[in-house]
């Protein structure tokens, strides 16, 4: 049985809230996926995959296609805030906590939640702003905000590149934290906002601090941002986005079943693991491990930021953007009635010939 929407949501949210992914029991795997797995475990197929991986490793180039698009998006959107103010363009006014885009209200969901809990009173404009943003991220996938809009994400990605360089030279080591910390902190800040009557997280949120610093020149807050980046370079890779930021959790929850998503195609996967190495939230890619997939094609869960670094990293195109109801793909070879292993064989050979 393929997974229904409800089950996908439930499993996705469990991952989002900190569950550690596990190998699925045999009965959870569809017959097609089981047949594909059996084929992948044949000695001939193992040998072919090993050779393919070796050949791919020899080149070892990572594409910058999606990363550069994303950086352009972050720079453009944040640049619009800055230019709107300094050149009085009036396109995107305000900052990432709340803005008017061509006159329409937009409000950050986490900032608004904090505000409502602290102030205990809501005005119509804020409801309009929250609803607009909510609908956008219900469609494009909540955490798209993180990787396509958030200015801290860009700085953090650069810090990550530095961290990886230093880690390669064994000068620093990544210290993993418990992913449930983010859920706890979300609760802590919600309770604190309600109890103290102040939006305490907003005070230290690097999203708002950076957004305001860019447009309004409030530079003292950058000391805090620099501190966070230093921690990420020297001690724990991407710790703010991975384990702390309640903004990410809020958006992840909102986009739990977004139609814009990354789709994993198990038939194309060589289980090399490059995607998990580059991923901000590698637990969502655990299904790319051998025998972890339960279906031939599965969407990546709600914690995924749609940053598409995995698309840049994947040499076989096993991961791709997917819009439910719009993206068209040929049926899987292992689908009931499909050509099965034979079909996959020919397509694999075809690809090898082309290369």
């Amino acid at each position: 049985m393929s997974k229904g929407l409800l089950q996908l949501t439930r499993e996705g949210l469990a991952l989002l809230f900190g569950r550690t992914p596990e190998k699925p029991p045999a009965e959870a795997v569809t017959p097609e996926a089981a047949a594909l797995l059996a084929f992948k475990k044949t000695p001939a197929e193992r040998k072919r995959r090993k050779e393919a991986i070796a050949a791919e490793r020899a080149e070892d180039v990572m594409s910058w296609k999606w990363r550069s698009r994303r950086w352009a998006s972050i720079i453009l959107l944040n640049g619009l805030f800055v230019l709107s103010f300094w050149l009085d363009l009036q396109l995107v006014e305000g900052s990432l906590t709340a803005s008017r885009v061509l006159g329409f209200h937009m409000a950050d969901l986490n900032s608004s939640l904090q505000l409502m809990l602290a102030h205990k009173h809501v005005v119509l404009n804020l409801v309009i702003g929250v609803t607009t943003v909510f609908l956008i991220y219900v469609i494009v996938g909540g955490r798209s905000f993180c990787s396509w809009v958030c200015p801290y994400h860009l700085l953090s990605e650069i810090a990550e590149l530095l961290h990886l360089k230093l880690a390669e030279k064994r000068l620093v080591k990544d210290h993993e934290l418990d992913r449930r910390l983010r859920v706890v902190l979300f609760g802590v800040f919600a309770v604190l906002a309600f109890a103290t009557g102040f939006t305490l997280f907003e005070t230290i949120s690097p999203v708002g601090i950076l957004s305001r610093a860019l447009t309004y020149g409030t530079l003292v807050g950058l000391i805090w941002v620099a501190l966070l980046l230093a921690v990420e370079v020297l001690w724990s890779r991407r710790f703010w986005c991975r384990y702390v930021c309640p903004v990410g959790l809020t958006y992840g929850f909102v986009g739990a079943v977004a139609p814009v998503r990354i789709l994993y195609d198990s038939e194309k996967c060589m289980h090399e693991g490059k995607c998990r190495q580059v991923c901000l939230v590698p637990h969502v890619l655990d299904l790319t491990k051998m025998s972890y997939a339960t279906e031939l094609r599965e969407p990546i869960g709600p914690d995924c930021t749609r940053c598409a670094l995995c698309l840049d990293a994947c040499p076989t195109g096993a991961l791709s953007f997917d819009v439910v109801g719009i993206t068209r793909r040929p049926p899987p070879a292992f689908a009931p009635g499909g050509p099965g292993a034979a079909g996959l064989e020919t397509s694999a050979h075809g690809k090898a010939d082309a290369a």
Partner: protein, 258 residues
């Protein structure tokens, strides 16, 4: 594993790493929470007088909570009187304020564009006229420095050549605020605070003695003062003889006329 000195049952390396990871997580969570709480503490112990907030601002605590820290009020102000506070103000980080001595709110926008821009009602939509504003009250805090109280006139630029502040000089251009440094005053008795006050009848010069020959006058602030700070900005004395006094409570706009 040949370590024989330990008496306790040894943890596997995986268990040890898990324990360390848990402790690290608790520590990071604690530090982040404390950082946010420090912002709150800063607000609680801050002895300094509260900032002058833009027109329509709720009482200080409610204002800090209701403000979403977006800066849209900053964007619409024609004289850029509104600025955003920075991290050192704790929970006030990102909240708008007016430094009246540098640039007062002169209602060049014909009142309360900032209120209309506010998406959260932190600047109360109950007001739509400048006369309804209650941001603070002007007070003669350095009476000895006041030129009028010394019976002196004033000649020259109110705040010197380098002053960047702007003001609506209706006689020059009703719609375009002009540089204060661009106007040379020449008055036999200094009355700049009264002359430039944007609220009719909010301040007046009154005699200091019963003697009709005594030229000395003192500025008297009336109940209609809204606290915009133009008098504080324009005052040629240094520091300003008249300044805005801000209270954290009791400044919230009331529904007009109902």
């Amino acid at each position: 594993m040949s370590d024989s000195s330990g008496e306790k049952p040894k943890l596997s390396s995986r268990e040890r790493e898990e324990r360390r990871r848990f402790l690290r997580s608790v520590a990071v969570g604690g530090v982040v929470t404390c950082a946010a709480l420090a912002g709150w503490l800063q607000h609680k112990v801050a002895v300094a007088a509260p900032r002058l907030r833009p027109p329509g601002a709720l009482d200080e605590d409610a204002f800090l909570a209701a403000c979403i820290k977006c800066g849209q009020c900053v964007q619409v102000c024609p004289v850029q009187a509104i600025r955003l506070a920075d991290l050192q103000e704790g929970v006030g980080n990102g909240v708008p304020y007016i430094a009246a001595r540098d640039q007062a709110c002169d209602f060049s926008c014909d009142a309360t564009q900032c209120v209309l821009a506010c998406p959260t009602g932190a600047l109360s939509h109950l007001i739509d006229k400048k006369e309804q504003v209650t941001m603070g009250v002007a007070k003669l805090v350095h009476g000895d420095a006041c030129l009028a109280r010394q019976g002196r006139g004033f000649r020259g630029k109110a705040r010197g050549e380098a002053f960047a502040g702007r003001l609506r000089y209706v006689d020059i251009d009703r719609w375009k605020p002009q540089a204060v440094a661009g106007r040379a005053y020449d008055v036999p008795l200094c009355d700049l605070c009264v002359r430039e006050c944007p609220i009719k009848g909010a301040i007046a010069l009154e005699p200091v003695s019963a003697d009709p020959a005594d030229p000395r006058r003192t500025p008297v602030v009336k109940a209609s003062c809204v606290g915009c700070g133009v008098c504080e900005m324009i005052c040629p004395a240094e520091p300003a003889a008249i300044q805005i006094v801000v209270t954290p409570t009791g400044r919230e706009p009331k529904r007009a006329g109902s």
